[in-house]
């Protein structure tokens, strides 16, 4: 299995354009973005950036959807093993950063 995520960029995509701004005015970190993205798949649950995927009730069918969304939104194809071994939004954010840096 490859350990480095594969990156495919779409035309015109700019990393800065992905940044969102929190109500406080502080830029939202990638880990917080990933937490929010996970939250869409764990209905009715607030997901923190250190929450454990499996403790939240995560399973492979949810994992398939999250990896797909990460690929669409950030242009980074995460390795399945790395994703499940990472287990928290913070560490998944690190994988995405690594994937971007590798290009």
């Amino acid at each position: 299995m490859e350990s480095l995520p594969q990156v495919h960029r779409r035309g015109g995509q700019d990393e800065a354009s992905e940044r969102q701004v929190a109500p406080s005015g502080e830029p939202v970190s990638l880990a917080q973005e990933i937490s929010a993205l996970w939250g869409e798949h764990f209905t009715g649950r607030e997901v923190g950036s250190e929450d454990d995927f499996f403790a939240l009730g995560g399973n492979s069918l949810i994992g398939i959807k999250i990896i797909e969304r990460v690929s669409q939104k950030y242009g980074v194809q995460l390795s399945v093993r790395d994703f499940y071994l990472a287990q928290t939004p913070t560490r998944v954010a690190e994988l995405i950063e690594q994937g971007r840096a590798a290009t």
């Binding site: 995560g58 399945v80 499940y84 287990q87």
Partner: protein, 416 residues
């Protein structure tokens, strides 16, 4: 787990832990089940995390739990590693679906796996098995349990429509599903191991289907067949194809190797049975049935009680999880006299429930029976004797009873 039980011992049914992985890796579950059948045919256990389950261990009760979907549903999951979590694939995965939908899907899918349908594969299966056995006759130690993990792939790969280059990875992934705590297969935690393997296997079938759609045309394989069946007048959804494809891969890969290893081990321990089979090859089909009974590779399956239900002298409450211990049912003396004796001439060996019972009876049973019969025909014809060449090692799993290592040395048979 040990297939030949050690001496009987005192078992405290109030404290026995049926999910203790050490019991299966290095312990001896048969004496425990013997006591359960005799004294607590319905047994309740609460795990440290609060989850609870009931166990049935008698032949008759195991058949009832597996066979009656009105009392015991499969739609909340059937595999004990997921105890307490409702199955995310319920109603979509054939094994997690009750009749009538189950019947509707199973019939067309199974039409390619009947005894008659698989007969045409016998010659190619025999060639694969001969190739598989050749290196065992080099005179060196041959780790049968480890090698046999690839046997179903070698035998059924072409039938399923899966290229040889992918088999090794698929075999590893299916092993991860069945023994997520075995150090041979674990990645990170048990939960991560299960998620990685489910994810990769479902994605594998999904990608296979995408490629097939893009290239057009069929190859008459089983996966191809899944794409073309129309149960109830409509094709399976892509999700159903992916899940059933996954399930078929799993069923093909994870049980046959352990039946092979368990049966060969029984023959090594009992040279007189080996000689008997060699002297009379017409006994081989019954040897296969006794080997299935003896090894019971699928150790158990789970159901959930629909309503309060009386069984085994007690009551399982509505929504309670019940584990049907197949490995125990196959050693029930009321059905099989001297159950812990391995006897290739056993009159009713064919009544074993290693393939399950009722609507979810193993869909691949005819193919497994054919593969095992050919395996033992070729083995007995080529091997003069087999000796153990090291300690067998058992799989760390309470779901699949199997071996990870069975080192053997075989002598070539010189036939006139």
């Amino acid at each position: 787990m040990r297939l030949t039980p050690g001496p009987g011992r005192d078992v405290d049914l109030d404290t026995v832990d049926l999910f203790d992985l050490d019991l299966y890796t290095s312990g001896d579950p048969h004496p425990v089940w013997d006591v359960m059948r005799a004294k607590a045919p319905l047994h309740r256990q609460v795990l440290a995390d609060g989850r609870e389950f009931w166990s049935v261990t008698r032949y008759e009760d195991v058949c009832r739990v597996l066979g009656d979907h009105r009392e015991f549903t499969s739609e909340r999951g059937t595999v004990v590693t997921h105890l307490g979590e409702d199955d995310v694939a319920a109603g979509k995965l054939l094994t997690s679906t009750d009749p009538p939908r189950h019947t509707e899907v199973r019939r067309p899918v199974g039409s390619k796996l009947t005894a008659r349908a698989v007969r045409s594969w016998e010659d190619s299966i025999r060639r694969s098995i001969v190739r598989f056995l050749e290196p065992a006759l080099d005179g060196d130690t041959f780790d049968l349990a480890e090698r046999a993990l690839l046997l179903p792939a070698i035998v059924t790969g072409p039938l399923l429509g899966i290229p040889e280059k992918d088999w090794e990875e698929l075999v590893e992934l299916t092993a991860m599903v069945t023994a997520p705590s075995d150090p041979h297969f674990q990645q990170g935690s048990e939960a991560a191991t299960l998620a990685i393997s489910h994810h990769e296997l479902v994605t594998y079938v999904t990608d296979w289907v995408k490629r097939r759609r893009a290239s057009g045309g069929g190859d008459d394989s089983l996966l191809d067949h899944l794409m073309s069946v129309r149960p109830g007048g409509a094709p399976l959804t892509d999700e159903e194809i992916a899940l059933d494809g996954y399930s078929i891969l799993l069923g093909a890969n994870v049980t046959t190797p352990h039946t092979v290893a368990g049966t060969v081990q029984a023959l090594i321990e009992r040279p007189e049975q080996f000689e008997k089979a060699q002297a009379d090859p017409s006994l081989i089909p019954n040897l296969v049935e006794e080997g299935l009974r003896w090894s019971s590779a699928a150790c158990n399956f789970m159901r959930y009680a629909v309503d309060d239900v009386s069984i085994g002298g007690g009551t399982i409450p509505a929504r309670g999880a019940v584990v049907a211990w197949i490995g125990s049912a196959n050693r029930d003396a009321s059905q099989f006299p001297d159950p812990h004796t391995f006897d290739i001439t056993r009159a009713n060996a064919k009544r074993q429930v290693a393939f399950g019972f009722g609507p979810h009876f193993c869909i691949g049973a005819p193919l497994a029976r054919l593969t095992l019969r050919v395996f033992f025909e070729e083995l007995l014809q080529r091997f003069a004797s087999i000796d153990l060449a090291g300690e067998p090692q058992h799989l760390r799993s309470y779901f699949i009873a199997g071996m990870t290592h069975l080192p053997i040395v075989a002598q070539k048979r010189h036939t006139p």
